[in-house]
């Protein structure tokens, strides 16, 4: 048996065990994305990283235990690194949460992103309405695609459009994706602006957000059309 210290709590595990086994036995947890016992232990996603006493960050799923090793699962540095890694994954992720069958609480990636405070996930990620039931398809100006997630989307759950009370997303790429949606379903821009002014009237980036959306719509609309 080998004794290691997880967050200063001593715990004993078998000789060939990895840090992850010790962490679980000690009653703590670390997030994992790629780890799948017996099948995949390649430490590719780097989410399970923990901090050793010498400051080095190592992946818990693949690093072997050794006598007296001290590991810390939740330091500020570890949390910061995990957040940035989540941001990287989401940046390269073609996130169309509006139509993902796993949305509304069944996506580990989005759950982790919320837990670690990653910005830029729209309410659409939590909205239970299917793509075909989306309120935008009925021409209703819903602010879901440009509002910060975290409320579990109670309004669209009841069939009323999102009014943006949690605050806007200011990331350009997310706004541009949303603008394409608004264009697709012919949402009236003035209506949208009126809705945005309900809760975002004094937000310093209100006009920036509106302009980004307007630009994308303008760019993708043929010359001489109505809007």
């Amino acid at each position: 048996m080998v004794k290691v210290y997880v967050n200063d709590k001593p715990v004993e595990v078998g000789e060939g065990a990895h840090l992850l086994d010790a962490i679980i036995k000690a009653g703590y947890s670390v997030p994992t994305l790629c780890f799948f016992k017996e099948i995949y232990r390649e430490a590719s996603c780097r989410m399970c990283i923990v901090e050793l006493a010498n400051g080095r960050l190592v992946p818990a799923c693949a690093y072997p235990v050794s006598e007296g090793l001290k590991i810390y699962t939740d330091t500020e540095r570890v949390r910061r690194n995990r957040r940035v890694i989540l941001e990287l994954i989401l940046a390269a992720h073609r996130m169309k949460c509006q139509s993902c069958p796993r949305k509304g609480g069944y996506c580990l990636l989005l759950d982790l992103a919320k837990e670690y405070g990653v910005e830029g996930i729209p309410v659409c990620a939590e909205c239970p309405l299917h793509e075909s039931e989306c309120l935008l398809t009925k021409g209703i100006p819903c602010l879901g695609p440009i509002t910060m997630a975290g409320c579990n989307s109670p309004c669209t759950r009841e069939g009323t459009p999102c009014i943006g009370c949690r605050g806007p997303i200011t990331r350009k790429d997310v706004l541009e994706e949303a603008a394409k949606l608004y264009l697709k379903y012919n949402i009236d821009l003035d209506e949208l602006y009126s809705k945005m002014k309900l809760f975002w009237n004094n937000h310093p980036k209100l006009d920036y957000i509106y302009n980004v959306i307007k630009e994308v719509i303008k760019k993708n609309t043929k010359e001489g059309s109505l809007r």
Partner: protein, 651 residues
């Protein structure tokens, strides 16, 4: 057929790979050992003299290594052959390797018994007749340098000795002693200059004693990590099991680094010798030389050396009758930079596609799960030399923490680009300014990039830093394999960081998120900044992202990839700020941030600039001065390039 030192001197000699003689190596030079015979002794002496001065007492050496060939050595070689044939000169024309003084390529050396060995620099095929004629007339006044003087040649005193010149005089040519002197494709010449003595000595010791010798020498891995070689060997040796592997890492991937290529092309037997010694020390029975396919001459020369060693029983079963069997296979890599990393290299041999989390380290579980030692080419060259010369000589050079010498390739803005070997602890200033001659006229050193794409930029203010593993790390760079790029005031540090980052982005294996996605975003952000669209927030992103990639990547490629960005941010933050705040590139390199202006005093009114401007931003009439409208200018730089009188200036 000329008798070779490697052959039997007479019938009493019975050595063959099947029935090896223990004293074979020593016997080549000091023999015969098993019988007394002045004839046999004379045979050896004559042969040695032939090797030194050529068959007819006259030898012309033409260095044929990748760099000299690129500079035109093949044409020079052909010209030499043509000249000696047409004039019927009795001379031995031999290939050698490269000396490391790239700025005089192609060069040739003429050696005649009684004459000083003369080196002629920057030789063109048409110079050959004159050079040979003068030398044969006893005149060396046209030479670049002499290896030694004899007092019998004309103009001898006027020509400097090589050892008096920079870059030679401050070097310590410990492992590179044979480079440019010996024919790399001749095992005989290597042995004539004392080769394989190290192996002979090692095989007379126990493997543990070999490890002890290397421990006393303090040799640290020269591939970049600087791990104590003896310790790695000891760990592998102590692993249970009979099957162990040794791998020579000849996958030198840093752009601009060619120390390993130089050693392997110019003195391949030295590195092979080191590999056999290492195999003996750890108990490996099979070895692999993993060499870049993009360096074909290196691969060819190493393969040839292996073949020759096998022919004379230095590889194979029961080497030199010591009961030690070892053989080597040469494997060509597919060219991925990441294969320089241990676990990636092993994966490449095994046919897998990506590096692995360590621990377990290859010394305990490596190739096919067996204990594996991976040593760099230069490290193995040191091993051979230390075993031959003794550890006491090695520790004379170096610092407290790191003994011995290291090879460095100095490129970039210097007068004398080349590969130089100096004691560890030499300051950057000495290497760059004295040995390599400093920047050309009118330029100033701004920074020195050490360690390639995994290394960092050290500003000119820190040039007095001694080159050692720990000191460089503290300054934000790494020793790496020894590539040094000198950056002058005409370069933009942000652009430099962008260049190195683009390299690592292309070379990322893609297995882990931080490196695969993070490095790309780092690159995109740098591009944004050099295009004039950057914000101060982007600089914060670079710092945070760089730190995350460095601390959470799976292997050392990702772990060191952000170094160029982070080190330039550390020392040259003002340049970054100028790019984002003032939208200006202080070094006038980033095309979108440079203002173009026609100097009216130089402008001749030819209108070439206006004709070439894609934005119609230049106005004027033929014969009158032309003017650029900055509001229309898209900063493409066409006017700058096309102006025949250089009247367009950047500011």
């Amino acid at each position: 057929m000329t008798w070779s030192l490697m052959d039997k001197c007479c019938d009493r000699c019975w050595h063959s790979p099947e029935y090896p003689c223990r004293h074979y190596i020593r016997c080549r030079l000091n023999g015969p050992l098993c019988h007394e015979d002045p004839e046999c002794r004379k045979k050896r002496e004559n042969r040695l003299r032939e090797i030194m001065y050529g068959k007819y007492g006259f030898k012309i050496k033409v260095p044929m290594a990748s760099c000299t060939i690129a500079a035109g050595a093949r044409e020079v070689y052909d010209a030499v052959i043509k000249e000696v044939k047409s004039r019927g000169i009795r001379v031995d024309v031999r290939k050698t390797g490269c000396m490391g003084m790239c700025y005089i390529d192609p060069w040739i050396e003429l050696v005649k018994e009684g004459m000083p060995a003369a080196i002629y620099a920057n030789v063109k095929p048409e110079d050959i007749p004159k050079i040979i004629k003068e030398y044969l007339e006893g005149d060396v006044s046209g030479a670049f340098a002499l290896r030694y003087r004899t007092g019998k040649a004309k103009g001898e005193d006027k020509v400097p000795l090589l050892e008096e010149l920079e870059p030679w005089k401050n070097q310590v040519r410990w492992v590179s002693r044979n480079c440019g002197i010996v024919d790399p494709e001749s095992i005989e010449e290597y042995i004539a200059l004392g080769g394989y003595r190290g192996l002979d000595r090692a095989l007379n010791m126990k493997p543990e004693e070999v490890i002890e010798e290397i421990r006393k020498s303090g040799l640290r891995g020269r591939g970049g990590a600087g791990f104590p070689t003896w310790l790695k060997w000891k760990i592998a040796r102590e692993q249970p099991g009979d099957v162990k592997y040794i791998i020579m890492n000849a996958d030198e991937g840093d752009p601009g680094a060619f120390m390993n290529r130089l050693l392997a092309e110019s003195d391949p037997h030295r590195v092979l010798e080191g590999m056999i010694i290492a195999a003996y020390a750890i108990g490996a029975s099979k070895g692999f030389i993993f060499v870049r396919a993009e360096k074909p001459l290196m691969a060819e020369r190493l393969a040839k050396a292996v073949e020759q060693a096998r022919k004379y029983g230095l590889l194979g079963e029961n080497i030199l009758g010591r009961g030690f069997s070892f053989d080597v296979e040469v494997i060509l890599s597919a060219g991925a930079f990441v294969c320089g990393e241990e676990t990636a290299l092993i994966a490449a041999i095994e046919g897998r596609t990506s590096p692995r989390q360590r621990p377990p380290y290859p010394a305990t579980r490596g190739l096919w799960g067996k204990p594996t030692i991976i040593n760099n080419v230069e490290t193995l060259a040191h091993v051979a030399t230390i075993m031959a010369e003794g550890w006491e000589k090695f520790v004379k050079y170096g610092t407290e923490k790191t003994k011995g010498t290291k090879m460095f390739c100095v490129t970039g803005s210097v007068k004398r680009t080349g590969a130089y070997e100096v004691p560890v602890g030499t300051t950057i200033e000495k290497l760059v300014m004295e040995i390599a001659g400093g920047p050309p006229e009118g330029r100033k050193v701004k920074a020195v990039q050490i360690g390639g794409p995994s290394g960092g930029c050290i500003p000119a203010s820190l040039l007095s830093t001694p080159i050692d593993y720990e000191t460089l790390q503290k300054a934000g760079a790494i020793m790496g394999s020894g590539g040094i790029v000198v950056i002058d005031d005409h370069s933009c540090m942000v652009d430099v960081a962008k260049f190195f980052t683009s390299f690592t982005v292309a070379e990322s294996c893609g297995k882990c998120f931080p490196c695969r996605i993070g490095m790309k975003i780092l690159y995109d952000t740098l591009e944004k900044i050099t295009n004039g669209e950057g914000t101060e927030e982007d600089i914060e992103i670079l710092e945070e992202l760089g730190d995350v990639i460095r601390s959470s990547s799976l292997c050392a490629l990702g772990g060191t990839a952000p170094n160029p960005v982070l080190s330039t941010l550390r020392y040259f933050k003002d340049e970054y700020l100028a790019h984002v705040r003032d939208k200006r590139c202080p070094a006038k390199v980033c095309t979108r941030l440079v203002e173009y202006w026609i100097n009216p005093e130089k402008c001749t009114g030819c209108g070439t600039c206006a004709k070439n401007c894609p934005a119609n931003a230049i106005t004027g009439e033929p014969g009158k001065k032309y003017v650029i409208d900055p509001s229309k200018c898209i900063r493409c730089g066409r006017c700058y390039i096309t102006c025949p009188v250089g009247a367009v200036e950047k500011r």
